[in-house]
Amino acid sequence: MQAKISIQNLNYTYEDGIEALRDISLEIPANEIFVLFGPARSGKSTLLRLLNRLSDLDEGTARQGTILFNGQDVFDRTVNVSVLRRRISMVFAVPTPLPGSIYDNLTYGLKMAGIRERSELDRRVEQSLKQSALWDEVKDRLGASAFALSGGQKQRLCIARSLALEPDVVVLDNPTSGLDPISTATVEESLFDLKERYTIIMVPHSVQQAARVADQAAFLLDGELVEVGEAGKMFVQPKDQRTEDYITGRFG
């Protein structure tokens, strides 16, 4: 089966010469939860940003290697970046609602894509809120300001916002970082349902979270891919000593 996303020999260097990613090669299968973990500043967020080309905003960077999405090079000149970003949709660490109502937040991306029919918008709003386990809590106040929600609700709103675009891949960069344990559990729970429809790529908040949710996992250290494989095996018996040291907490 062709991998959903195939990262091939990816190198990425910042303006000041710092190598953020060194020769990364990864295959991300469809409909699984793929977790990318490692200590701070090992390149995880950089890699995620390259997936949907938010990295285009960086000035003065150098890139080698490529990323294939469904077999197509995402960096190809003919690629429409807006379409790409709707197919590979990102959720950020800090919940960031846009000013406006809950409904506005959910339909913003759709309207920018040219979808304006009220019935279609309503359908996607309901569907995405149900998928992110937020529907029951807000269905009666879709017109309320998104800023009035609690932290956990805001983050689920952001997840729903991505889902409303009906992407292929949902990328989550440390989505539960600011959330309380209950909200964290709710988000993790919803991921299991989501992977049936979407491919999930996630940077976890902790190794424990990685172990809880991952199907496949990759350990990134200082921009280098140390180990990748089935999560069940990796967290019990890692192949590389560095992976084991990190998982057992010898460094962080």
Binding site: T78, V79, N80, V83
Partner: protein
């Protein structure tokens, strides 16, 4: 979920292979054009000044051009009286405005309680907004007679101009000095107070020296503001193109500034005449002076400061 996995599929409203729709491409380039137009405008201003003013520098022998008689009726165009006039009025204005403005800035930044600041800052902004013609009018109607009553031969003097100009430069000097004081880190003050310094000692020995470069900028920009003022000085400085001497009372004499000369005489010149060219030539001098001052200062302050001073750095 969409069935077609192709990412090359274009978005609504755009052709195959095009990365962004035509409408967007147009808008983005119009925006770039608007940004670059600022450079074009500055260049154009200079070019037009040179176009109309260049003949003055070419046709008038330099010795006369910088001579001490400005007598257009007889075809004598010596700029010195005008330069001196601008100089005296500007120096006078800055001498008054810098100490006053600096003290005000200190008061606002270091001493005044918040509620006072909320009242005083809008007031100073209001001063910045008063049209120069109104201040000139008041100078003409109120201040000049006062000075005349105090003993001067006439109330329309460089001194009168200096006072009015000082008030007009105050908002610039106050806000830039205030910014400079504000930029001094809190730790400096805390450190001084912690070792027992009084508020005044802290200000005098710690805050002011630290803000020195910003204050210098404030002074430079105040000078630029004063040199460029036209209507207010035109109304109160008497418009006599003489060079005041010590015996005739120096700043209590009428003078003519460069700006007032242009404003007063342009209406009467024939287009294309040497007089006309010379007036533009004075414009070139003004442009160069303010360009130099503002480039130097702007390099350090940046456009961030421009908003607070109403765009005039």
């Amino acid at each position: 979920m969409t069935t077609n996995p192709s990412v090359i599929t274009p978005a609504v409203g755009q052709k195959e292979g095009q990365r962004i729709p035509i409408g967007e491409w147009l808008i983005e380039n119009l925006i770039r054009l608007a940004g670059l137009s600022t450079i074009v405008i500055v260049v154009l201003i200079f070019l037009f000044l040179v176009r109309e003013g260049g003949p003055a520098f070419l046709d008038i022998p330099l010795r006369q051009l910088f001579g001490s008689r400005w007598y257009p009726i007889e075809g004598i165009f010596g700029l010195l009286p005008l330069l001196v006039g601008s100089l005296i009025v500007t120096v006078g204005a800055v001498t008054i405005a810098v100490p006053l403005g600096l003290i005000c800035a200190i008061y606002l930044g270091e001493i005044a309680p918040t509620w006072q600041r909320e009242i005083l800052k809008p007031l100073i902004e209001m001063l910045a907004g008063i049209p120069s013609i109104v201040l000139g009018f008041l100078g003409w109607v109120v201040l000049a007679p006062l000075i005349q009553n105090a003993g001067a031969a006439t109330g329309l003097t460089a001194f009168t101009g200096a006072i009015i100009l000082a008030y007009m430069s105050l908002p610039t000097i106050i806000s830039i000095s205030e910014d400079a004081l504000y930029a001094v880190p809190k730790e400096y003050r805390d450190g001084a107070l912690a070792i027992g310094a009084t508020q005044w000692q802290t200000i005098w020995r710690v805050v002011l020296p630290a803000a020195r470069s910003g204050i210098v900028i404030a002074v430079m920009l105040g000078i630029g503001r004063a040199i460029g003022e036209t209507m207010a000085v035109m109304m109160v400085t008497g418009n006599a193109a003489n060079i005041p001497t010590l015996s005739s009372g120096l700043i209590f004499e009428p003078v003519r500034t460069m700006t007032a000369t242009i404003a007063a005489e342009m209406g009467e010149v024939a287009q294309g005449s040497l007089h006309y060219n010379t007036l533009f030539g004075i414009g070139i001098v003004l442009f160069v002076i303010t360009f130099a001052i503002n480039s130097l200062a702007g390099r350090i302050v940046g456009t961030r400061g421009a908003r607070r001073t109403g765009g005039k750095l």
